[in-house]
Amino acid sequence: MSRFFRKAGDSDSETESSEDESMSSGAEDISQRPVATTAKAAPSMSRFLRTAGSDSSESESEEESESESDVPVVKKRTGLPTVDDTDEEESDEEEAPGVRIKSAAEKRLDEMKATGKVMENGLKINDWVAISTEFDKLTRMIQRQHNVSEPVPAFYIQTLVTLEGSLSTAVTKEKEAKKKMNATNAKALTAVKQKLKKALKEYEVEVKRYQDDPEAFEREYTPVVAPEPIAAGKRAAAPGEEDYEADDFTTVGKGGKVMQFTAEGIFKNLQAVQEARGKKNTDRAEQIRILEKLLEVAVTSYQRIRVLLALISSRFDYNSSVTTHMPIELWLSAQREVDQLVSIVAADGNYSIQEITDDYDELIERSPATEGGVVRIRGSIISFIDRLDDEFTRSLQNIDPHGTEYVDRLKDEKVLYCTICRAQAFYEKTKQDEPLGRVIMRRLEHIYSKPNAVVQALEAAADASEIRPAMILSAQGTTSTLIHSLCVYLYKSGNSLLRTRAMLSHIYHHALHNDFYTARDMLLMSHLQESIHSADVATQILYNRTVVQLGLCAFRSGLIREAQATLQDIFTTQRVKELLAQGVHQQRYQVLTPEQEKAEKQRQLPFHMHINTELLEAAFLVSSMLVEIPLLASIDSEEMKRKAISKPFRRLLDFADRQVFTGPPESTRDHIMQASKALQDGEWEQCRDLIQSIKIWSLMPEAPTVKEMLAKRIQEQGLRTYLFTYAPHYSTLSISLLARTFSLPVRTVTSIVSKMIWSEELSASLDQSGDVIVFHRIELSRTQQLAQTVAEKLAAMVDQSEKALDIKMASTGGWGDRADGIKGDKRGEQAQERRGRGERTRGARGGARGGRGGRFSQGLGNQMPGQTSQRAG
């Protein structure tokens, strides 16, 4: 089945399967060869393999190896030329089509082969003189080959190896033999021996590689040399040949195998398969097929468990490469088999699968009766589940997310989820806490970032299965409670990594469901921001995702300041995609090594879990705009302007300012930049229209309400900006006019203005009788201004010094506390004096500025920096 699939689906199926063929036939060859003759460690193959192999027809690719490996055999039999003749004939026939169209390289190769033949003949009759001359010829040809910078043909290496083998036998024979060779022959033998030694040394590497894996070596060579037309011809021939091969193989296999696959023989077969596992020449597909057959004949639970364990691991072994994913068919069968395994073990409590067991004989049947209780079998279901899940993620990473294949693959999540749930139920039943924690984490990871509908679908599927875990959606009511109960389990479990991840997932889930305050409080109380730097990369990514989602949540809930502050950090790095594992950032100063790149690729999230970065950027820039523009308008000195709250936004704004001509906005950024300018000019309607016309909002849930909220914020901030910018030009300003201009209710306008007056952002007061704002503007002289700046700078410097000292002393913990008291007292005095004077001068104006926030940042701030920054925001 899998064979068929590969042919139909994969683009590279041809090479892959033909490779399989050559490998399998290679294995058969080896098994045929007498063990003693070669230095190669011939893997001990099971009996049926040998019998099956003996019948199979030789393929073109194995011809060479066949003939050369036969040589020593023949030699021992003291020359029976008939076998070789047939071989030669065959090979001649095979070569015939190649002869027709020969390139220079081909010709050389043929020439070499001819020389090789002569040498072989020489070997057979022990004519070392001939061999010596032929070998010289061959060496010269190789030299030529070198000159035209072509790789050393495999044939040459083959010859070397063969020659070496026969040489050593010849030498030993020579010693034993009573009758000596004649002098010339003996001399030639020594010469050949020396030449061969030299040649072997020269091609040491190649020889070694050849010995390790002849087929691979040969294959490596052929694509380089094989000219186009022949290659094409071969390719055309290949499928047909393969079909024939496959058919032939299976039929023979059936005939040969069925008899062997009996319940009694299972353990022997199993052991054979297990021994072959991991070896170079093992045909993995074949092994899987054997195991499938074994599974069919297995009768007792013990047998089935054993076979399933072997089968699942060999499925996972199928492709060893890290970069590609497991074939989907294989994955699906592995998934089914894991299910089967879990249900067998769950149904019968007498069998238990453990990672560590006492040694037991693999070959005998065991049952609860013989073991006296529970039968313990070595294996690990949890690692299968982990692997299954990982393979699923990997396949999603590798499939193009915009194709239908991706969607199809995504549908498999449902069965995977069911498997995980089933495993959870099993572990709950058997009360194995450690794997239960892991499996619950897996489950959580599948649902935490998904909207309710998807979770419901997954849960419905899980609900349908016969074994159900304790926590299911139908029992819990809502997805949030389900996730809550899963997380609570993990919080209580001992594993701190799982706990961290569960916490982050939980926060993420809250944020996704617009529960900003809960999410924020959980994040702050977990104190994760202090320890996350030491966590592993995957957890850090999860942390970043959580923080970003929290920012988006704040944005959706209309908490612009919080959103800005939360998203700020990740945007200042300018590596958003990389930090969220949604793509590798290209413009880097340092070049990544291939390993790093590979690692990076592996940790990428599958596409359906991505947080849309454009939407993220839009949210960040819009909230930055709403925070930054009024601030920009409120400060008048150049000095102050340099201090920006949001650097990325300020940079973009400066860039947009420098533009000579601005066309109609196209990208999201353009929209926001033009909107910012409109807001600066007090044209809030234009700003609103620009912001609302950004297309990406459609990706945000509840887009209309968000847009409405934004419109309201723009009105308010527009009013503030307007007041800041144009206050110097007015002495009074009617509130009703403001209300009309910004289409806000009078009450809101009064509230906003009052707030600005109270916090001393605006030096003005309200005149209730005329319903106007009266501005008090004092023009500062240059000296006064400078004096003020100096004073501010001084204060800032002292603040910084205190902070620096705080940080320095943090380790000893001494200064902060003690000095806090001192400072507090002193502040007290100051504030008191200030207050006193404030009253003297009617109105406690000066009092507010210095004191506000000062104490807060020292008191709470020392204890929990994260909290204050968040809460104060």
């Binding site: 104190h527 509230s751 209730q768 003020q788 003690r818």
Partner: protein, 478 residues
Amino acid sequence: MAEYDLSKTIIPYLDRHLAFPLLAHLVETSLFPVNEVQAAQYELAKGTNMFDYAVSLFEAVHPDGEVPPEFDEKRKNAVSTHERLQLEAQAVLDVIENPDVAQALRQDKNQNLQYLKDNYNLTLDQIRALYNFGQFQYSYGNYSGAADYLYHFRVLSTDTDLNTSAHWGKLASDILTGRWDVALEELNTLRDAIDSRSPAPILLPSGTAPEPALVQLHSRTWLVHWSLFVYFNHPQGRTLLLETFLSPTYLNTIQTSCPWILRYLAAAAILSRKAASLPASAAAPVSTRVRNAIREVVKVIQTEEYQYQDPMTSFLKELYIEFDFEAAQRELTLAEKVVGDDFFLGEFRDEFLDNARYLISEAYCRIHQKIDIGDLSERLNLSPEEGEKWIVNLIRETRMGADAKIDLEKNVIEINRPPLPIYQTVIEKTRGLALRTQALGVAVSRTPGQGQGQGQVGGTAAANVPKQEAQAPTVAVK
């Protein structure tokens, strides 16, 4: 108004006996049906040894019902236990009250124990009898007796758990007997005990299961609730409450586990306005924390708005965050009722109203230049005449006289506030810099290992600090 009543929320954090006054108060306010409250009182009393009280309550609830017979039995039991415990305790007490012994006792508890053991053959177990008897007395309502025994026990015992328990018991007894000075003292020592236990497990990463921190949080939550009794009855209580509750640890406790305490925090902040605004006399120094109480409380209210809201917090929010005077006035009328009905705040109703009005008018005057008297009176919930009187008083009291003038013809107040001279601002800003620098210098020289010049510290700080802050929450993948 029942929805704003906090009794139900608070009672779980109180001792059984402490809940009685609360329930008694509920009977008076008639917020809830009287028989329901009485039933609750009965249920509460059933678990104590105050049988007479329980029986009287039972009769009140079930006028025709037969008094359950188990009370008699229990009473007998209790009496016998009482006698037994008294005998045990008396033995110890005899020894302790001996003037020789009292003189011989020192600070060191272990030494004391040894002394008692050597001379009077008094063991730790016998001393524990004091505790048991104290507890028993407490359970049948003899609070002053309980306080005495528990006090003696605490002086002698070295068992920390029982000591803490005795602490709580003593505090409850003092509260219930109404000895506020003693209770306050007790409260402070208990607070120290709680705070000193399990040093700083708060900042540990989540990996280490901070069980002690959890216990501490619980104790603090309880302490916060119990202390309400003391703080709202002691003459100095309100400022002390602000002092305690606004300290970072307790503020955190309130924010995490009992946000409803914000009502009392807000009330205390409003009530202690006068104390805060008056220039501090040498006798009663007022800390910065209290002085800026309102500002801080407003900040907390704003952050916790999603968790807890009642008319009291809304009043402050409307006044200081939204500057919506109409809404503030509306909330004030509600808050007034809430205060009147509240067990702890009931007595402060007029004072609260007075202060709240003052706050409104202060904010109003600061923002406005010309104020219509009628309008302001309305904002303050006063009739125009009363309002005028109030405002005149206000102006006189706050020495606004020079700036604020009442124009009776137009019926407005005009407030003329000259802008602050620029040199004054500069002085304001630089004030105290020298002192702070000095403090820094002292701190630096105190740690010889890091003896760097002030200038250097300042220089590096400018470079270091912002970066650190910026880096804090993001994580680099590499």
